[in-house]
Subunit: 371 residues, 2 copies
Amino acid sequence: MNTRKTLSVALADRSYDIIVGHNLLRDAGQLIDPIITHEPVIVVTDDNVAGHHLGTLDLALQSAGIASTVITLPAGENTKDYDGFHNLVTSILDIGPERRSTLIALGGGVIGDITGFAASVILRGIDFIQIPTTLLAQVDSSVGGKTGINTQHGKNLVGSFYQPRLVLADTGTLDTLPRRELLAGYAEVVKYGLLGDKAFFEWLEKNADALIDGDETLRQQSVITSCRTKANIVSRDEKETGDRALLNLGHTFGHALEAETGFGEKLLHGEAVAIGIMMAFDLSTQIGLCPVEDTTRVRAHFKSVGLPVQPTDISGQAWSSTALLGHMAQDKKVRDGKITFILTRGIGNAFITSDVKISDVEALLDKAIAA
Amino acid sequence: MNTRKTLSVALADRSYDIIVGHNLLRDAGQLIDPIITHEPVIVVTDDNVAGHHLGTLDLALQSAGIASTVITLPAGENTKDYDGFHNLVTSILDIGPERRSTLIALGGGVIGDITGFAASVILRGIDFIQIPTTLLAQVDSSVGGKTGINTQHGKNLVGSFYQPRLVLADTGTLDTLPRRELLAGYAEVVKYGLLGDKAFFEWLEKNADALIDGDETLRQQSVITSCRTKANIVSRDEKETGDRALLNLGHTFGHALEAETGFGEKLLHGEAVAIGIMMAFDLSTQIGLCPVEDTTRVRAHFKSVGLPVQPTDISGQAWSSTALLGHMAQDKKVRDGKITFILTRGIGNAFITSDVKISDVEALLDKAIAA
């Protein structure tokens, strides 16, 4: 129940620890203290997370004698646009940071992404610490140093590779998470099983209900397994020139779906990933790569926990395969005009390919939006 | 006259060459071709430089069979603000770049800084090439990977360390430079002599007039010596944790002067550096570090070529030492509230210190603005 596990992301002089466990927020002061070289630390959070967790963090910093100042942003993906970024950077510069100042990102993926990007460019780079408070941020966005903001052209098209100095994943914070957000994060957990760890997927099939309902030990185990997989991949391929792209399973389709729904509440990132993963499996099955049984099994698992599995599961949204394809062509993974896909030969057996016929993708999209 | 010299900035997998010489713009196509992996290349320039040099570059790219597209920004330091950056990034994303796309910065420091910063964050980093067309950019801003934009809080407070793939310093482009801009760049050339190379300063004393008047061989030699010094320092200390800060000789004062004049035409960056260098020498002499003869000799040299040497040389500007000190306290080099200064024990003997009494700085500022 109260175990703590420390994982390491090995990146030479930019290596850092991910600590996973309970009550990390309460003990954040002493955990952070060794890497603070200048005060005040600047905590960036959103008005939703602040209500749940800022008091605990404040107290923890105070009791460790660390002076801090807080910037609270509006909750939601819209905060992560160009104006939101400009406002955040201005607020931070108003405080008068030095090169040895430290930002702390307290929140979900939006707060982590925008704070990390700000840290990477203010005074050409200051330290930052991730304290992810959503399942999605704990298993994915807080680890690996991808930062960024959304532009009118798409999601995370502007950003940087910039590693945090420390990640504190307090699984206790997940208790305050709305079920819908927890499920969205769970889609990213399932991704780790699907891309290369069939045993983990089978473990999830067995334990998903209890995990989602609140079993602390199961949650910790799932976060640890997810972070360990991600840490290993990132250590091998920080800048995504090779197999880091496997982590994008479901994301090329998912980003296109999010772009169409406006990156908002209508379709959460993790929900888009769940649908995107199903589209990747369906496409893999359609072109004869993946046994239909595996695709059916993944779909059944997502459905069993209550995740959407196709675009038409999102109510009140009209879809166009031309528009979706247009977004996919603007993806960061496009190379020589060819879209990179993460496809699969079955559960636990994903691979990277640019060798997909557009006509096959169109057929898949047409089928998916008609379903 | 037509020699070419290739210098190398040694930074492991981010190493690159600086080529200095004549007619590099004419031959840019074949020089660039080996490092282009995706077309079109995107040329970023300003409306002033475009008139002088874009035609030559266009022809060079065409004759090498390299497809290109051009983005032309308004000339001047104001282009380098937040809105200018947003507009540039949007224009680049409109073109639909891929991760292997390449930006080419054709222009002075403003174009190089803003284009480099855009390259560092678009799709989390794409390649860029510097083709500096001012003396200041050739000897300083195009080399070493400092990118950035100005904010309301100060100069280059937002940016990144991001190295170009290649620098082409065509000294022929200096022929089209207004004398005032050439002189501003010359201040940075002198800086290399003053910070650690007395023999180079003495060479400049002898050759400044002919160099400024247009002697191509002397210009090439001065650019090569300057770039070699900078390349060596950057290779040792890319992120300015140590002696790279020596390159900031005159810059802490200079940035404060620029902030007061609004980063505009009233006071060019290089002019601010010349005045800032004199303030650093005066302060060093005032506190007993630098022989007054050296300070007098540097002042005489700047005056002899027509550079300003004190704030009051800038007409129509009222100065306040409190305001200047306020800007200096916001400098990127501030550490634990202490401003880092580059002071000197004489010509060719600069050093870094945070151990300067504010009262001494105030006395210096009061004297300087009363002069």
